[in-house]
Symmetry: C2
Subunit: 303 residues, 2 copies
């Protein structure tokens, strides 16, 4: 069975990590959101790609959703001494990822090629594909009428300004690698990532939602008992979707795309398709493996 | 009195540092070689500009000719883990300089502007001007017929391959800032830097040697009692110049440009212009100040 996972940051990375451990070699591809990508200190940062890579490499910290466990911050300290923008914290080891990526792009390589090279240097064997090689910058329109680049809103402004819209930018060509993975897919999994700013940027690329419609697709709810595990999603469902933060609201957002849905114990609703109700909290690697096995078993019955 | 110093790396930086401490504000400009500039990890490195800046900022180590005293090497350590080229050692604090410069250049600023910005962030007030805003890469032709970029020869190959020629590349326009400084100069000092790869790249730029000819010019010998204080100069005088490494050989190289020459005790020769024979070793700041005062006094009598 060939499985494609559509993924954003931490939640996506954790599910991909679980799948990575239970699926046979060659059967899993992660297509990762690049709408959060931005330039910082002149470097090309891909927060979601990095989170997925670091998680699969076993380098992600347990206690925060970014960077490398045990990283040092000597460069950041000097940046602060010199009065340079320090709102986005890059660790010293993490920085090497951005240097390698920026250099590869400057030499004319694609983001897909740069990501393969980075995975290789980190010992990550599963294909991790950026959703696009072209810039697709997501911005946040606030209720005050400001438009902020996504990372500025999320990190610099700590997601405080109320959101009226997530504006998905760019309209790059879908890459050959992404299209090939989708074509070969027997199952598409929509990871427990933010629908507005992690999954929608992937779905809107040419050919992706078509592939989702023709392929058995299961989503995992990023909302558990009314709360997001991490990040600003609960508030965004209220502010953008005008609905209470719930698994059902997420399902409504994915209207017409799903053949199955995995939710936390107690979050079932009267869906028109099968629902897997279980413990979908996957912070530890043990839980990731346990849930990935349940999810694959559930999905196998649908395909 | 308006003084312009033509400078390369460590020796140049130390003389500029001494002059910086004895000349009144507004009277000193350093024009610095950029023939050694190169790209590493996708960053624009300007070794000589950095050495001059760090020395004036009081950040240079006593025991080595590059980087920042007490710097850490966390990024380099990760670079090594990932199997990336590690022959040019960049410290974590040093790295910020290259990030800032690379970003400024990518945004369309000139190297002159980027250098001013860096000086500002390091608290360096004297104007430090790159000799050119355009690439002028120096390469080394070896006796084996190889052509190596200068830093590759110097650092990666540890200056081991015998040299047949220093090839000075590019022919950028002399910048307005350099021409203005030279025009205003009452005195030009040629620092104790490598004539072939630090000073010649400056002298060959349009308008520079003309300015040197029309302005009282004093050189400081980079050879002391037959040896270079640092670097590969002694061998290069033999291999390129076909002469013994001596202050006199350096003076012959600068044939027709000098109105005075400062040499180490015992290094006088029958020059046709006044010679200052003193202790020209300027490793400590105390020695730099002492020698700068002597040099300015000597030069004042010539102008």
């Amino acid at each position: 069975m060939s499985v494609v996972a559509l993924a954003g940051g931490v939640g996506g990375a954790r599910l991909v990590d679980g799948l990575d451990r239970v699926l046979p070699p060659g059967s899993l591809t992660a297509i990762v959101n690049t709408g959060d990508d931005f330039e910082h200190w002149g470097l090309h940062i891909s927060p979601d790609l990095d989170t997925v890579m670091y998680t699969l490499a076993g380098l992600s910290p347990e206690d925060r959703g970014w960077g490398i466990d045990g990283d040092t911050f000597e460069v950041l300290r000097e940046v602060r001494c010199r009065g340079i923008d320090d709102w986005f914290q890059l660790g010293d080891r993490d920085l090497v990822t951005h240097l390698v990526r920026t250099q590869a792009l400057a030499l004319g390589q694609s983001l897909t090629q740069a990501t393969a090279k980075l995975c290789d240097s980190l010992g990550v064997e599963r294909p991790i594909l950026p959703m696009s090689d072209a810039p697709c910058p997501t911005s946040i329109l606030t209720k005050n009428g400001e438009e902020l680049a996504f990372q500025e809103w999320l990190v610099k402004e700590r997601a405080a300004p109320s959101v009226s819209e997530a504006r998905l930018g760019g309209m790059g060509e879908t890459t050959a690698a992404v299209l090939a993975a989708l074509k070969a897919a027997d199952l598409i999994l929509i990871c427990p990532s933010n629908p507005y700013v992690s999954i929608d940027p992937i779905l809107r690329l040419a050919g992706v939602s078509e592939a989702v419609r023709r392929t058995p697709t299961v989503a995992v709810s990023p909302i558990l008992n009314g709360n997001a595990v991490k990040g600003p999603l609960a508030g965004m469902i209220l502010e953008i979707g005008g609905r209470p933060p719930s698994a059902e609201s997420v399902a409504i957002h994915y209207n017409g795309l799903l053949d199955g849905f995995a939710v936390q114990h107690g979050d079932s609703f009267g869906a028109a398709y099968p629902t897997l109700e279980t413990n979908i909290l996957i912070q530890t690697r043990q839980d990731r493996i346990r849930f990935a096995l349940e999810l694959i078993e559930f999905a196998r019955d649908l395909t």
